[in-house]
C-alpha cells in the first residue's frame, strides 16, 4: 500500500496515538484505560504506519519487537516479586503518595504491572501482524 495520503495520515497519527496510549495507561487505575487497551492503541498505530511506509527491504519493515514481550513479562513478574522480597505474598501491590494537597501524585506498583501488560500486548500484537504483513505471497 504505497499512497501519499495514507503515508501523511499515518505519520501524523502515530505520535498522537502513542500519546493517547500513554494517557490511557497512566489513568487506567482510576478511569477507563489500562495496559491492555493502551497496548492495542499503540499496536494499531504502529501497524498503520508500517503498512503506509513500504520499506525498501523486507527486513526493515518487519519490526523486531519480540524483545518487548520478554521485557513485559519480566516487568510484570518482577513487580510481583518485589512484594515477595519485602516479605508479602506474590503480586501484592504497594501505593505511595508523592507531594501534598492538590498536587499529590499517586504512584503504585500496579502501574508498573500495567506497563508489563502493555509491553506484552504491543510486542505480541505487532509481531503477529507483522508476520503476516510480509510482502511476499506464498502462492
Amino acid at each position: 500500500m504505497n499512497s501519499f495520503l495514507l503515508r501523511q495520515v499515518a505519520r501524523g497519527v502515530l505520535p498522537v496515538a502513542v500519546l493517547f496510549a500513554i494517557y490511557l495507561l497512566l489513568r487506567g487505575h482510576d478511569a477507563p484505560g489500562g495496559g491492555f487497551v493502551a497496548g492495542l492503541v499503540t499496536s494499531a498505530a504502529v501497524v498503520l504506519h508500517a503498512l503506509a511506509n513500504v520499506a525498501p527491504s523486507e527486513r526493515a519493515r518487519r519490526p523486531r519487537v519480540l524483545g518487548s514481550v520478554w521485557l513485559g513479562l519480566l516487568v510484570a513478574a518482577g513487580t510481583g516479586l518485589v512484594a515477595v522480597a519485602a516479605g508479602g505474598p506474590f503480586l501484592t501491590h504497594s501505593h505511595f503518595d508523592v507531594g501534598s494537597g492538590p498536587a499529590t501524585i499517586h504512584l503504585s506498583t500496579t502501574l508498573l504491572f500495567d506497563v508489563g501488560v502493555f509491553l506484552v500486548v504491543v510486542g505480541s500484537t505487532i509481531t503477529t501482524l507483522a508476520a503476516f504483513a510480509g510482502g511476499e505471497n506464498p502462492r
Binding site: P32, L40, T128
Partner: protein, 768 residues
Amino acid sequence: MQTILIAIIATPFVGAMATLFLSARWAGRIAFFPPALVLVLAIPRWPAAATGETNIVTIPWFPSAGMTANLRLDHLGAFFVLLIAGVGLGIVQYSRAYLGKKATPRFWAALLAFMGAMLGLVLSDSLLLLFVFWELTTLASFLLIGMGGQIPEARAGAIRAFIVTGAGGLSLLAGTLVLGQIAGTYDLSSMPARAERILASPTRDVALLLMLGGAFAKSAQVPFHFWLPGAMAAPAPVSAYLHSATMVKAGIFLIGRLSPIFGASPAFQPLLLTVGLTTFLVGGWDAVRAWDLKKLLAHSTVANLGVLTALYGVYPPAEVQGGIVRGELLSITNHALYKSALFLLVGWMEKVSGTRDLSILKEERWFQREPVAGVLIGIGAITMGGFPFLLGFMSKEVFLEALLHARFPGVVAAVAAAVVGGAMAVVYALKLCVSTFWGPKVPPDSRGYPRAALSRWLLVVPAVFLLPHVIGGIAPGWFIGSVLEPGTHWPAWIAVWHHIDRIFLLSVSTLALGVGGYLLWRRYAEVPSQPETQIAFDRLASTVLGASNWFSHAAQAGGHPRYLVVMLVFAAAAAAAAMRGGSPPPLPGAEAWSVDLAAASLPAAIVAAGAVLAVLMQDRVSKVVLMAAAGYGLAVFYVLFRAPDLVLTQILVETISLLLLLLVFQRLPRLGADERSRGQRAMHGLFAAALGLGVAALAWASGIHPAARPAGVEQLALSLPEAKGRNVVNVILVDFRGADTLGEITVLAIAAIGVVALRVGRARREGA
C-alpha cells in the same frame, strides 16, 4: 537466614541470565562465580546444620490456597547444597577446558540454571516449590543433553530422558496433590508430625506410589533405569554433573524427605529395598556387559543409585534421623565424587585416545603414555569396586552391616543380591582400570588430540574430586565422624580392618568373586553387535511417541469446520445447562436494564445487517468487514449502557482483528464454489442457529435473573479502600486477579513466539 537461602538459590539464576548476554569467553569466566559464591554462603552454615540445627524460612505464596514457598536448611539440605556447588565449581572449570568453543553462552546459561534449580530443590520445604524446581532440572537436563540438537543420537537421548523424567515429574505432582490433601499442608517439615493421620488415610498408598514413581524415574531405578545410559550422549562434564553427581540424586533426596512421613507404612521399606536391590543387580549386569566406557559408568551409576535407594529400605524408621540413614551421606559423597571424577577422566581418555570403545582400548597399552590418568582412574575404580583403603570400602561395609543387622523375611536373598552386585562392581571396576590401560600393543599416534593441545585442568579437576577418598581412606573416623555426619560414631581406620567377622568374610568373598568374574570376562566376553537394552528402550520411546501421535490425531482429526462444530456444540450445551439449573425469580428492578428503544434500534440494525450480510456475501474480505461492522454496532450498545471500558476494548479488538484477518486473507486463495453437500450445509446451519439461540437465551436469562450474590458488589466495595483504584475493571485485572493476568500475558507471549517460529521461521528457511 531468609536472605542467605534466597541468595543461594538466586545466584546461579542471575548468573545464567548474565551469561546469555555475554560472549562465550566471558560467559565461561562469569560462570565460575555463582558456585563459588554459593560455597562462600553455605560453608559457614555447615557445622550448625550438620549437628542438627534446622532453619525453616516462611515465605507466603498463595496464603488463601494454603500454599507456601517455605525453604528449609537442615543437615540433608546443607549437605546437598555443598555437593551441588562444590562439584559444580569443578565442573565449570573442567567444561571451560574441555568444551572450548563448543561452550556457547546458551550452554553456560543451561548449566547455571540447572545448578540454581537443583539448589532450589534441595532447599525447598514446600512440596509445591520442590516440584517446580524438580521440573526445572528436567528441562535443563534436556537442554544440556541435546546440546543444540544437531546430533541425532544426542537428540534421541535428550527426548528419552525428558519423557521418562517428565512423566516422573507428573507422577510427583499428582502424588504431591494427593499427599497435600491428606495432610492438609504442603510443607514437608510439618508432615512427620501428622504421619499418623496420613498413614490412616485410605489413599496413603496412592500418594506414596505416585511420589516414589517420580523419585524412581529421576533416580533411574528399575523399571525406569533405561533413560540414564541414553543421556550419555551429553558431553563428559554434563554427564559427570547431572547424571552422576547431582540430578539423579534428587530422587534419593526426595525419598529421604519422605522417609520420616511414610517410614511406618508397611509398603515403604519393602518397596525401596526390592526396587533398590533389583536396580543394583540390573545396573551391575549391564555395566559388566558394556563396551563403551561411558555407558559402563552410566550403568554402574544406575547400580549405585539402587544401593542408595535400598539403604532407606533397610533401617527401621526409628533410626532415620532427619531423613538421613546411617552411612547415607557417606555413600552419596563417595559415589558423587568418584563417579564424576571417572566421567571426567573418561572424557580425557576419549580426547587422548580418540575412542572410548573398550574393544579397541583393551588391545592397547595406554599406561606408559598416560600414567597420571591411569593412576587417577585406578583410584576411582578401586573405590568403585569397594577395595579396602578408600571410601568406597567403607560405603560397602556400611551397606552389608545394615543388611546383616536388619530383621525382615528374605534377608538372606538381600545379602546374596548385595554380594553378587558387589562382585559385579568389582568386575566392571577392573574392566575400567585394567583393560583400558594394560593391553598388549603400543597405542597408535594417529587417533585423538596431541597432549600439548589439552588443558591440564582436565586432570586437575578429577584429581581434586578424588582427594576426599584418599583423606577418607586414611582417616575415616575423622572424615565421617567429624565432617560428614558429626555425632555418629565411626571406627578408626585400624578398627575397620582388624577383626575378622561376618562382614569381613562377605567382603572378601565379594572381592574374590569379582576378580574371578573379571578373569572370566577377559577370557570369554565377545563384542556384541548391538546391546539388547538399547533396542528395548528405543522401542519404549517410540511407543510413547506413537501413543501421543495417536492421541493428537484422535483429538484433532478433521479440519477447521469440525473443531468449530465441536466448540460451538459445547458452548450451546453449556448455555442450555446453565439455564436448566432453575433460576431465581426475576428481580423487581429488572426492567431498569432496558434502554431507550429508539436509541437502541440503530446499533441493533447495524449488528443485524452485518450478521445477515456476512452470511450472504461470497468473498472473505466482505465477510470480515461486515463482521467488523457488526462488532462496531455492538460497541454502540456498550455506549448506551455506559460501559466505557468495554467500548474502548471492543473497538480496538475489532480493529486489530480486522487488520489481522485482512492480512491473512491476502495470502489465501479465493473462495471457490461452496463444496459442501446439502446435508452438511443444513447441519452447519443447525449448529449455528442452536448456538445463536443458546447465547441469546443465556444473555436474556442473566439479564432478568441477576445472581443472588453478585461478585461485583464486593469488588466495587473493596476497589478504592483496598487497591486505591477507582476503575474497578482495571483493579480486578492488575490487583485482585493479578496472577490470572500474569498467566494471560504469558499465554500471549507464547502465542507470539509460536507465530514467529511458524511463520517467520518458515519464511526465513524458504528464503535461505
